[in-house]
């Protein structure tokens, strides 16, 4: 790393001054400049434009226009915002729509995929997948008499890509994986695994929750069949904002939504007694969407489109490599382990550090030195890099504070049992 030789706050500030995306930080609400927020991979910051947008939705659209707003934009919002997300993940217009939560969308698409492969018994996944995804796959399998085969990751860091490809066979109905895994940040090669699934006649379903807005995703380039993802991490859509789902255009007519609600009906206002699915992505909707949370998604997505995903990804890599260089020089000797891949091509936008005292170190970071990462058991301090607002100076300062917590043993004041949701 060329930057490694010049570690100083002044040098970090020079990197910030020279970086083409630094100005995007100003587009977010940042009230405490001392707080180093490294949890944008769990909940992204509030874009300034979102405050104005929500004020409009609450005061004018709900307060004044009332139910008329359904005909003045609310009904189309899930698809309109979906089309913007599509441009971030390599999908086409009409293939992405906002709906429900990631778990509910995963459930719907998994059951749809299983129904499309009635003679195959197996869902393949790995043990790095987000547990909620595993629960949903287990549910879907139990309900339909299938089984879930979980391929283990040998080192707990790198996805078992080869073992998965080797396990795909003519009994495989579906391969379902997190594209970027939540603990280590490992990123799968979507094209290779999807191609292996297709060769065996299986479908591939990708969870993009930790990828959208942070790594380059090319759903069409990879010929991906199905995807789901969350909007409140790198898309900065707000707490629990509706998730998105993707169904490749040519598959939409062949798949059925198992939760057939009125918003997915061909003509919702016909109130026909028998369900007939809408054309296209609309059929994968179920109930009325939560408009306030839905509307909050759009400004954050627009910021990423304005910056450009290639630029966003390039900045994520610059920041991550800088943090890794700092880790090598200043943290590795203090008992930390790198729980993320070295190769930036296989790494998302967060870096997990393990430490024997990781849990208490994490508490000290939050309580004593105003650094906010998160912690994932058993020993992952996740340092999330949100490309639009995390800066080189923040990363420099975060490592300084992390060193201080360990060198001055600040963590000893804390009780591991105190870990709360962060």
């Amino acid at each position: 790393m060329s930057v490694a030789a010049s570690f100083s706050l002044a040098a970090a500030r020079q990197l910030d001054a020279a970086d083409p995306l630094t100005a995007f930080r100003e587009r977010f609400v940042i009230d405490d400049p001392d707080l180093i927020y490294l949890d944008g991979n769990s909940l992204g910051r509030l874009p300034r434009a979102t405050v104005a947008r929500l004020d409009e939705v609450i005061q004018r659209e709900w307060g004044q226009r009332l139910v008329r707003s359904w005909g003045e934009g609310w009904f189309e919002a899930a698809g309109r915002i979906g089309d913007k997300i599509a441009r971030l993940v390599g999908a086409a217009e009409g293939e992405v729509i906002l709906a429900d939560s990631t778990s509910v969308n995963l459930y719907k698409l998994t059951l749809a995929a299983l129904a499309a492969r009635p003679d195959r018994q197996t869902i393949l996944t790995d043990d790095l997948n987000f547990p909620s995804d595993l629960y949903i796959l287990q549910s879907a399998a139990a309900l339909t008499g299938r089984r879930v085969r979980v391929i283990p990751a040998a080192d707990g860091i790198h996805g078992p890509a080869e073992a998965i490809c080797a396990a795909i066979n003519d009994d495989t109905a579906l391969v379902s994986l997190s594209h970027t895994v939540f603990k280590s940040g490992y990123v799968y090669d979507m094209a290779t695994i999807t191609a292996a699934a297709h060769r065996a006649g299986a479908l591939a379903l990708w969870d993009l929750s930790h990828s959208a807005g942070s790594v380059l995703v090319d759903l069409h380039g990879a010929a991906a069949d199905l995807a789901v993802g969350c909007t409140y991490k790198y898309l900065n859509g707000g707490p629990g904002a509706p998730a998105f789902l993707y169904v490749r255009g040519d598959l939409q007519g062949a798949l059925d939504n198992p939760i057939s609600g009125w918003i997915g009906q061909r003509d919702p206002f016909d109130f026909a007694l028998d369900y007939a699915p809408a054309a296209g992505r609309q059929r994968f909707l179920s109930g009325t969407p939560p408009i306030l949370s839905l509307a909050a998604v759009e400004p954050g997505v627009e910021l990423l489109l304005e910056a450009g995903m290639a630029e966003v990804r390039a900045r994520s890599v610059r920041l991550s490599e800088y943090l890794l260089a700092l880790y090598d020089e200043r943290l590795a000797s203090l008992g930390f382990r790198l729980n993320s891949p070295r190769d930036p091509a296989r790494r998302g936008s967060h870096i997990s550090l393990g430490h024997e005292e990781g849990l208490r170190i994490n508490l000290a970071l939050i309580r004593d030195v105003n650094v906010l990462p998160d912690f994932r058991r058993p020993d992952n301090i996740r340092l999330g890099i949100a490309p639009l607002y995390t800066t080189f100076s923040e990363l420099y300062e975060a490592v300084e504070r992390l060193r201080r917590v360990v060198v001055e043993r600040l963590y000893e004041r804390h009780d591991a049992a105190d870990l709360r949701v962060t």
Copy 2:
């Protein structure tokens, strides 16, 4: 009706002045005093307190506290607000929780009920049920090899309560009905039908979407097993706000959520690879809730608690009977039909009027005379009475404008094909 003799705007204003709940109207944002909003049964008005609450959630909880807010109230919000709704519908603490949409909740509870009655093949419902509910019941039946039997309502207005009770037998797994039906406003006797279901060993699941906040519901008194409901109608929770679900306390441990996501897991932050359901109502959650839309529900529910459901219901009946008296005297002779029950004990808080030109009359009401009801095919102009903000003077004036639309044939300017979502 004693009021019928004194129909005038002045008399209506006297009724408003004398009514104990009139002052609640001031608690809502009302920017256009000329607009007569009779669609609170589709989207309730914006409570003033909700504006302030949302500002707090957006600016402080999301903008400043960021991910820390999950540990500072967000995780508990769905249950906390659920407990407040429980007090409106006769449920106990710990039995109601906010989650997903009404459709998704109905899906989850229907599958849970079917799993609890594995040897029974039939779901019973009626053709007055909200179509989305029928679609969900059809989905659940198809997925589990059961069948849905739809009992028809002879007159399209009154629920076929006796026919349903007669149809319940030892093959009935579940009776699922809208407590207040969406077109006519008919209200079922929940206790009688639930008792009939129980005598045959079946479960009863009630959709309270048009009941919560408008009619008296006593889930415990009726021994109801399961319920779902929407929060954006009479609860004034905002567009598409998360729905609620109720599972009677003694049943919670025996029922499984088919969409087993991480928020319903016993310890969501353990990230265990195998699902173990949380105790109590929490197990019926799936994915992360949309916090902005969720938070918006609480102030509207608090307004109803402050007013008291018995008082709210009494006012709903006073207003509805007044509107019916106006209908008898001023509308019945103009070609209108009453598509709602006469008996206030069997009627919710909206009145549906049919008319040969209903669709175009509805358009003229909206476009020409600033009255906002909604229309449900084939011929229902639904006049929704929201007890906390609809007034006697508004109903008087609405009927005057409705007369004008018909007498002056204002509707003839409009094209029925123009009907949009209202």
